[in-house]
């Protein structure tokens, strides 16, 4: 009897909590968008520095990548939110929310772009230099358009992980989708409804982004691979 009740879906849950859930969804998307844009530029700049072995920047980028990749993102969030204030640096939950996933995504994106740029055949760059392009314009006209395309699918995978990782902002009580939904659950005890909404919400975002990868892969494939 109780089992049947617990698993039944109460549709009024949606109408009664729509405002809060949509606000949570909006914050998830907002934080993700800021982090994705930031991670794109971090990956682009540091990936280029790594691929072209720019002195000092390349080594610093390598350290950054290894530290972020080899430590759990949740501990990084704890560092930013709980360990910095006693040292005199206090960041708002919103700032930590986008900053943490941006730093994390930027590290993975550096690797994505580095691999992409390094996959561009050396002879293409030589051809650009032979045609009289400088090093910088060779990068923007030759390496970036080709290497960027190669790096695109893996970088979108990183952005998908960025969106999923915003759920960890639950621990700093930033009211994104997960935190908002679980707050409602704590009040109404409508567990089934809460998790249905959460699962559907994340899967729709993630599956849409994966579909985008497949779409772009065929659209942006290099001519020789078609």
């Amino acid at each position: 009897m109780t089992t049947a009740l617990a698993v039944a879906f109460d549709w009024s849950y949606l109408s009664e909590n729509a405002d809060e859930l949509l606000a949570g969804l909006r914050r998830t998307l907002q934080v993700s968008a800021i982090a994705i844009v930031g991670a794109f530029f971090i990956g682009l700049v540091l990936g280029a520095a790594r691929a072209h072995r720019v002195p000092v920047v390349s080594q610093l980028a390598a350290i950054y990548v290894e530290v972020i990749r080899n430590t759990p993102i949740l501990v990084q969030i704890f560092m930013l939110f709980f360990a910095l204030p006693p040292l005199g640096i206090t960041l708002e939950a919103f700032t930590v929310a986008w900053l943490a996933v941006m730093i994390w995504g930027g590290a993975f994106n550096t690797e994505n772009f580095r691999a992409g740029f390094e996959a561009v055949p050396q002879r293409y760059r030589e051809a650009g230099l032979a045609l009289g392009f400088g090093r910088i314009s060779t990068f923007f006209n030759v390496t970036l358009p080709i290497g960027g395309r190669i790096a695109l699918p893996s970088s979108i995978n990183t952005y998908i992980s960025v969106v999923k990782n915003t759920s960890l902002m639950y621990v700093i009580s930033y009211p994104e989708l997960t935190k908002s939904a679980l707050d409602i659950q704590a009040l109404t005890l409508q567990t089934t409804e809460t998790f249905t909404v959460l699962a559907v919400g994340y899967l729709v975002i993630v599956w849409t982004m994966s579909a985008l990868i497949r779409l772009l892969e065929s659209h942006l494939a290099l001519p020789e691979e078609r």
Binding site: A6, V7, L74, V75, M79, F82, A83, A199, Y202, W207
Partner: protein
């Protein structure tokens, strides 16, 4: 170098209680992910639409959901479905990571199994192996070579992701660290009235780095050698 007095008991507690918990969750999740993932990934190579659709759905759901949501689902929702599905934080986290990990392994296994040349299937069929025997004794042992590097990488990721169990209060490294931060912050005689959050969380990062860095390097090395 003299460490302050508070360090020794904190470190001992975090390693004995926390690191043990972390490794326990990771070990269960790795074994479960390998077992379920290799089975599902092999079944995925059968050209039979219903099983493929079902396994695909399993993979896409558990890969698509944030692990935190999966762990919450197991810890808060399953007990409402049936009282027998009430798990402790450690078990709930291990199950959640197994669902996520097995989805990753299934996808890689499919690729590895499909990379084995058709002749291997034909030859083992000719020797009288049935589907199960053929895969168990001929195809999978060869596919495992290709599977090894991603499995080592997965172990590193599983170990990192055990920290998510902190959210439901499982005694893993981050949770024990947080408990110690709170204890030290309390005024004497319980604590010191001092905040040592930075030192303790930095130590947690170092421990994870020391585990993860060699594993990721090993995975990259195996990738170059095996494939």
């Amino acid at each position: 170098m003299n460490l302050p007095d508070w360090v020794e008991p904190v470190a001992r507690y975090m390693l004995a209680e926390g690191l043990t918990g972390t490794l326990k969750i990771a070990a269960i999740a790795l074994a479960g992910s390998a077992l379920i993932g290799i089975t599902l990934g092999t079944l995925l190579t059968i050209r039979f639409l219903p099983t493929r659709a079902l396994i695909r759905f399993y993979i896409e759901v558990w890969r698509g959901l944030p692990i935190l949501v999966t762990i919450f689902l197991i810890f808060f929702w399953l007990p409402e479905v049936s009282d027998r599905l009430r798990f402790g934080p450690l078990t709930a986290a291990a199950i959640g990571l197994t669902l996520w990990g097995s989805a990753q392994v299934a996808e890689t296994t499919r690729g590895a199994v499909e990379s084995i040349p058709r002749e291997q299937h034909e030859a083992s069929s000719a020797l009288g192996f049935g589907w199960v025997g053929r895969h168990l004794f001929v195809i999978l042992p060869q596919a495992l070579r290709r599977l090894l590097p991603p499995m080592v990488g997965l172990l590193a990721n599983i170990i990192q992701n055990t920290t998510i169990a902190q959210v439901i209060g499982a005694s893993e490294l981050l949770e024990t660290g947080e408990r110690q931060v709170e204890r030290l912050t309390a005024s004497p005689p319980i604590g010191l009235g001092e905040v040592h959050a930075f030192e303790i969380y930095a130590a947690v990062m170092v421990v994870f780095f020391l585990i993860s860095f060699p594993l990721i390097r090993l995975a990259a090395y195996l990738e170059r050698r095996v494939v």
